[in-house]
Structures are given as structure tokens and as C-alpha cells.
Amino acid sequence: MNDLLSALAARPLLCDGAMGTQLLANGLHAGECGMLWNTEYPEIVSGVHEAYRRAGCNLVTTNTFEGSSFALARHGLDGRMAELNRAGAQNARQIAGDSGWVLGDIGPFGDFLEPLGDMTAEQLHTIYCAQAQALLEGGADALLVETMSDPAEVEVAVAAAKESGSLPIVTTYAFQKNGDTEFRTMMGTSVEEAMGRAIAAGAHIVGANCGTGLSFADYLELARQMVRLAGKTPVILQPNAGSPQMVGEKTVYCATPEEMAALVPALLQAGVRIIGGCCGTSPAHLAAMSCRL
């Protein structure tokens, strides 16, 4: 575990970009479960990982965002949870090689914890433990608890990740803009509470990914706040490539690789230690960003 953290202490690292949009570009239909491709078309999934590695990314993220048994149940695939997560980790492991790290991706389970929803913390803990276990078996070096909104869910996921092995745990939240310089998750969680509770739960690296309606200036401001609030804990940021626009029948993200690359020096200066991309980013974006790192 100290491997990734000590590397990070020495230099900033580049994480990869979006997976879903890349699979769609390769023929995945909207509504199909992209995780199935971990076993059905592993060469395509690995191809995406490889493109990101070639772009200069040090960390690759497994194609397992929807990989909790609860989220997979929406596709009727909960019975294949372990297999699909393991395969996802293996695909990434094979490409990352010795010099790259594999982040085992854990996304939101897709509903609310008690008292808002029916899920108890114990049930969710069991669900996340099983996913974490499968990701580690497949060769993940660290676990990435991402696109979170509820710090209570983060606490459960981080505890499960911890219990499954002593790896670094990375935690990111999705924020929306709540005022000129104020950001909150959809659950109303402030940046301060979000960072504080993730760190207290045991996350080794904290930050943000995705987000709603955030401009590059917003991402930069968010980065500054997170770095200040995270103290000694390294911060990760994975912005979207702008907001999506419809061009003809297709949706496109508006930020070019150059525009995203231009953000990199400012983020580094703000103190961000891992930079990556979220929705709409491609290997071309990450390659351009890599040049500025």
C-alpha cells in the first residue's frame, strides 16, 4: 500500500478517464450492462485500459462502477457479481503491468440507506465487502469508492474496503454547485463534511469526480477547498469534459483535450496529487493532460 502513497508523495500521478463512453463508442448499447463486457469482450475493455496507459495514465480504473450486487440486480446480473468484478480487475491488472496501479472501482449502490431507504448499514456492508473481495482477488492494488453523494454510504464502503485488505482506499464524491463558491452533494453534504467523514472513516486519498453543472473554474475552486480541508491526505480530482451538448443525434462533451490540459497546471498548483477525467474524457484528453503533468 505504501507503494502508491509513497509514489504519490514524490510526484503527482495521472489517473485514467471515462470507460462507459469508450465502450459505447465500441458498440455497447445504451441500457446494456457494460460490466458484462468484462467477460464477453475482455479484449475491448483491455483495449480501453491500454489506450489510457499509452496516453500516460499511471492508474487504471476497473470497469466495475455498477458492480455491487444491488446495482447489478437492476440488470438481473447480481448472481454474477464476483465473476464480473474479478474479471474487471484482471483486465486492468494485465494492462497496468508492474509500473501502473489498478484502482478497483466501487460505485454507489443505487438507493438510499435507512432511514431514507430500506437498506441497512449492515446489509450494505456485506454487499460492499463481497465486491471489494472480488476486486482484490482479481488483482486491484487499491479500491476507489467513487461518485458518492452520501457520507454514510462512504463510511460503509470504506469500512468494507478496509476489512477486505490493507490497501490504500480512494474516495471521491460528486458535487454540484450551490452558490458562488459553495459545493454540496445531492444529499446536501458540504465539502468539509464530505472530506472529513471520508478521512475519519479511513480513506487514504480523497477528492471529487464528475459533478453537475461545474465549469473548469468551479473545479479549480473545489480543488482548492478540498486540499485545504483534507490536510495531509492527498487529493484526487477527476473532472468531466465540460457539459454534454447534443449535436444532431449524438451527444458530445464540449471540452477539447487542449482545454482540459490547460487546467492541469492550476490544479497541481492548488495541491491536487492525482488528476484524471470523468464523463466525456477520452484517451486523447488524458494524453494532452499527461503532457502538462
Binding site: A30, G31, F112, L116, R184, Q245, E249, T251
Partner: protein, 212 residues
């Protein structure tokens, strides 16, 4: 005296106090208040207040969910009385997440707010094909169909549904769309009747569309 109870019920729902909402509903009914008046004068304003605060980022998803639950508690008492009296909501809306898309948190909030505004809401769920929207709109004589999409990749499915509804001759049914990646410009492009950025505005838009 009763005026106070109305206000207390509004407050209870807004704060998501379920037990209090049920109790005060019963108090009003026992005092002879017409069930519909409770809906219109206490419950609808409560949801509208919460929606307004949500829109202005003063409250968030949890507050919306607990308020809706308190309203549901009150409606569980009131609904049988309304049904027995043959009182039905003036407008019916069919709402669902489009084909290929499984996200439903936003859609559910919009459905809650529409219910909160006393629409009859037919929730057709997630991953809904055009035929199902059309069938539900026909069967329920809906004035409004609401489409939600959270994925850029399922936005085109909205156009398919709009086209299919028009081709099926449902020209009088208004179509409203929403979801994080959706914009007014997109709504214009695909010929939807309106777009709304959040659940509270969705109610305003719904009223506007059905009244037009």
C-alpha cells in the same frame, strides 16, 4: 383554530414528521374538513414549499424524500375518502425513465412533486420503451407524459418517444422532459413541449402545459 391546524399540518409535512402529519390530518377530518380541502390547503402547499427550497439549494434530496413520505402518510388516510366520494385529480401524468436508462432518483422526485401538486401520477418505471409510454398515456387519458434521462447516451431515446407519440396520434398529450444532461435547447430540437431543470420547476411547467 382550524386555520392553525392547517398550518401545523403543512409544517409537519415540510419537516417530514410522519406521525404528526397523520395525526393532524385526522384532527382536521374529525372537525369536518373536506378531504380535498386538506389536500389543497395543507398538503400541496407543503410540498410546494419543500420543492421551492430544493430548487434554491436550501434543502436537498433527503428533505424531499422525508417530506414526500409524510405526505404519503396523510394521503393514506385521505385517499380512501376521496375515492369513495368519486373525487379524482384533475390531471393525469405518465412519467418514466426512457429506454436504456435505469436511473430513477430524479424521476421519483418529480413524480413525488407532481403527486404533491395533486396530479394523478402513473409511474411506468425505468427502461421504458415508447410503446409503454403510449399505452399508459392512452389507458389513463393522460394530459401529460414526462420523460427522464440521466445518460447522454439515452437522450436520443427521448426523441424516439416524442416521434412515436406524435406518430401514434397523441398530439394533445403534452411531453415534458428532464434529467441532468437535458437542456431547453435539446427539448426544442426533439420537439418536446417543455424542459425543466428540477422537480419543483417540473410542477410549474406541468401546470403550464396542461393549462395551455
Amino acid at each position: 383554530m382550524l386555520m392553525n391546524t392547517f398550518q401545523e399540518l403543512t409544517d409537519a409535512v415540510e419537516k417530514g414528521n410522519r406521525k404528526e402529519a397523520a395525526r393532524l390530518t385526522q384532527v382536521l377530518l374529525d372537525a369536518g374538513t373536506a378531504p380535498l380541502e386538506i389536500v389543497e390547503s395543507a398538503l400541496v402547499p407543503a410540498m410546494s414549499n419543500v420543492g421551492e427550497k430544493f430548487k434554491n439549494n436550501q434543502v436537498f434530496v433527503p428533505e424531499m424524500l422525508i417530506a414526500a413520505r409524510a405526505m404519503k402518510e396523510a394521503m393514506a388516510i385521505i385517499q380512501p375518502l376521496l375515492t369513495a366520494a368519486g373525487i379524482v385529480p384533475k390531471y393525469t401524468a405518465v412519467i418514466g425513465t426512457v429506454q436504456g436508462d435505469l436511473h430513477d432518483i430524479g424521476k421519483n422526485l418529480v413524480a413525488m412533486m407532481l403527486k404533491g401538486a395533486n396530479f394523478n401520477v402513473i409511474d411506468v418505471g425505468i427502461n421504458v420503451p415508447p410503446e409503454k409510454f403510449i399505452a399508459a398515456a392512452r389507458e389513463n387519458n393522460a394530459q401529460l407524459v414526462g420523460l427522464s434521462a440521466l445518460l447522454t447516451t439515452t437522450m436520443p431515446a427521448m426523441k424516439t418517444i416524442v416521434d412515436a407519440m406524435r406518430a401514434a396520434g397523441l398530439n394533445n398529450v403534452k411531453i415534458m422532459i428532464g434529467g441532468a444532461p437535458i437542456t431547453q435547447q435539446f427539448a426544442n430540437e426533439i420537439g418536446a413541449d417543455g424542459y425543466s431543470p428540477d422537480a419543483a420547476s417540473a410542477v410549474d411547467l406541468a401546470h403550464k402545459l396542461v393549462a395551455a
